[in-house]
Symmetry: C2
Subunit: 369 residues, 2 copies
């Protein structure tokens, strides 16, 4: 592969064709276990199957839970630590919590408890006190931002499974949907709703395989400046935005989203997540963050490819009734997160039309269920 | 190291001296986040800090949550698959769920939802359909046994973090303590209580680093017969017993444990888990499972070393009022799990006395908090 050839996500090493059949089998087996809840007097919220978090009706409120993996962003942090002598694990901790919290809130849940899963390649990983303390401090700071309790967790040393010197990070999160009318699994989503997009802080934690592959093609690697004074590596490591302060503030402002989508893997195709046949028409495209613009150009991706895999500046989508759209965006801005009333939901076939860019994604472009 | 020298847990590669300082810092930082729950109208059950699962008081009941790692048992399964052509991942799935469920129930919780965390070294892992389907089937079967709903999970491909051809397995679990009097975080534990021990099914998923190291010293390795027709590898891979059917049956029988301890890492020292100053006197020691007896002999461990790291035949301890002890054991037997009224709780210094073996463990032998 020449260094100027376009770089696709598949080439970056993740083959969904191998993973997806297992996912389908697992989803079917999982769905068959829902009936067990009845023996405890409870029931699942069936519409949450396939959504970002699983929801159980326990009577006075709903309980939502999730486990989420950070992915391979630590490999960038490790490489940058070698190059700069700094530790990036405070930001990495925030990324990990964001993966769980930003998913959990899509269903209307208030995150209450986060558990840490830190699986190292050996006990030695924890012997680097600066790095370990940064991980702890960043984890706590992200919990503080999201107002969740850090319940505990696991710090196994898994030599032979996790590679020497590496760490596999994940977070589980449990929350309540309380009161129950906060539930947002899409049944309220419909024509006339507005789409509000919240700014991302960078690449977040999806697309890192591609980003790492790209670094190999850059003569200066991670130290390439993408703008004066900002290296590619530093830009990649901007911690993922935490959106739960926004969803909590919305509720306090009397706004109940009809649906939410966390824009992670599959990029903007995640806007098609809900199974309804609806057309999503985007009239305003948020500015690309610098690092995503850089990746798109260096990887030679056209807009269609870029928006189908990366967040391109929009990290979270909130679908609300049109009358609440401007207020929704303002609440996000008041939380320090840029936001745009970006589009509308319409009756029609299932598709996403990003009009300013002339892009159309259809149902065939996304298979999550 | 000669092949007849005793083999200790430290030699098997896990250095708790490196992990424990981080754990302490993390526990302190985590404890400081509990106050966030008040902003949502809730509070933590402080006594659950340091227990096996974290508990939050949400009003009508308590919510308990946890994330737990399987550890390195998959390395034995992988090796045995090479040697025998069989897949052992159905049992491995049960092990993983057992790690989470058996911890969650110690606080009195009914497990409701399990989430799967299956982080593979690459997409290829999922391409072995027989193995992947065994993992799915075993996961579902364990959910069925525990009557929990499988909510979903993560199946990331983490090339560069998880080793090629390996998988890092974990489970998160959320449950309710309902009604609230089922809470068992030790405040009811006291002199006069009986200790009921439930049989383990083998090594479970703790001590595998030692067990794997030992296999290297055996001329026939995992294919060494530990009894006629049973190889060391097969015996190691006996899936971990699931104890939630017992704790649920106990509640239905009107028995509320005062405290429970899941006997995992640190072996029988886990009986000293509760912070109270109490003496635990064991008068009846359950039979060793064959594989643990084999390990002890081959590793040249004395009883003190063996009981301080392995479950030695007892996988779970239930502390109940003396009058309920025999019935507790009978309820477990009715669930298909052997059980023994094994000892008593007494006033006195914090210590565990395994009288038939002449072993004493004191507070200094266990640092979990």
């Amino acid at each position: 592969m020449s260094s100027t050839a376009p770089l696709t996500y598949d080439q970056a090493g993740v083959n969904y064709d191998l993973i997806d059949p297992l996912k389908v089998t697992a989803q079917r087996a999982a769905a068959a276990t829902a009936s067990h809840l009845a023996s405890h007097g409870f029931s699942e919220v069936q519409a949450s199957r396939g959504e970002s978090a699983y929801v159980v009706d326990v009577g006075p409120f709903y309980v939502a839970s999730i486990v989420e993996c950070l992915g391979t962003k630590t490999l960038v942090a490790d490489e940058m630590a070698k190059l700069t002598g700094k530790s990036y694990f405070a930001g990495i901790a925030q990324d990990t919590i964001a993966m769980a919290v930003n998913d959990l809130i899509t269903v209307g849940a208030t995150p209450l408890v986060v558990q840490a899963y830190w699986a190292a390649g050996g006990s030695d990983w924890f012997g680097d006190a600066q790095r370990a303390q940064a991980l702890v401090a960043g984890w706590k700071a992200a919990c503080d931002t999201c107002q969740v309790a850090w319940g505990g967790g696991e710090t196994p040393a898994l030599a032979g499974i996790v590679e020497d010197g590496r760490i596999d990070l994940a977070a589980s999160c449990t929350g309540l949907i309380n009161p129950k009318e906060r539930l947002s699994v899409g049944d309220k989503l419909g024509p006339g709703d507005a789409i509000v997009l919240l700014a991302s802080s960078g690449i977040h934690a999806n697309g890192l395989s591609l980003a790492r592959k790209l670094a190999e093609r850059l003569p200066q690697g991670y130290l390439t400046e993408i703008e004066p004074g900002l290296t590619y590596g530093e830009a990649l490591l901007a911690p993922t935005a935490l959106y739960s302060p926004v969803t909590e503030a919305l509720w306090k402002a009397g706004i109940a989203p009809h649906y939410c989508a966390n824009i992670t893997g599959h990029g903007w195709r995640k806007l098609l997540r809900h199974p309804s046949a609806l057309t999503y028409r985007i009239h305003t495209v948020p500015p690309k963050t610098a690092v995503l613009d850089f990746i798109q150009k260096q990887a030679g991706q056209d807009d269609r490819e870029a928006y189908s895999t990366l967040n391109m500046g929009a990290g979270f989508a909130i679908f609300v009734k049109a009358a609440a759209a401007e207020r929704t965006a303002q609440v996000a801005r008041d939380c320090g997160i840029a936001a745009w009333v970006a589009g509308t939901v319409e009756a029609g076939e299932k598709q996403l039309l990003i009009e300013p860019l002339g892009i159309r994604f259809s149902e065939n472009d996304l298979h999550l269920r």
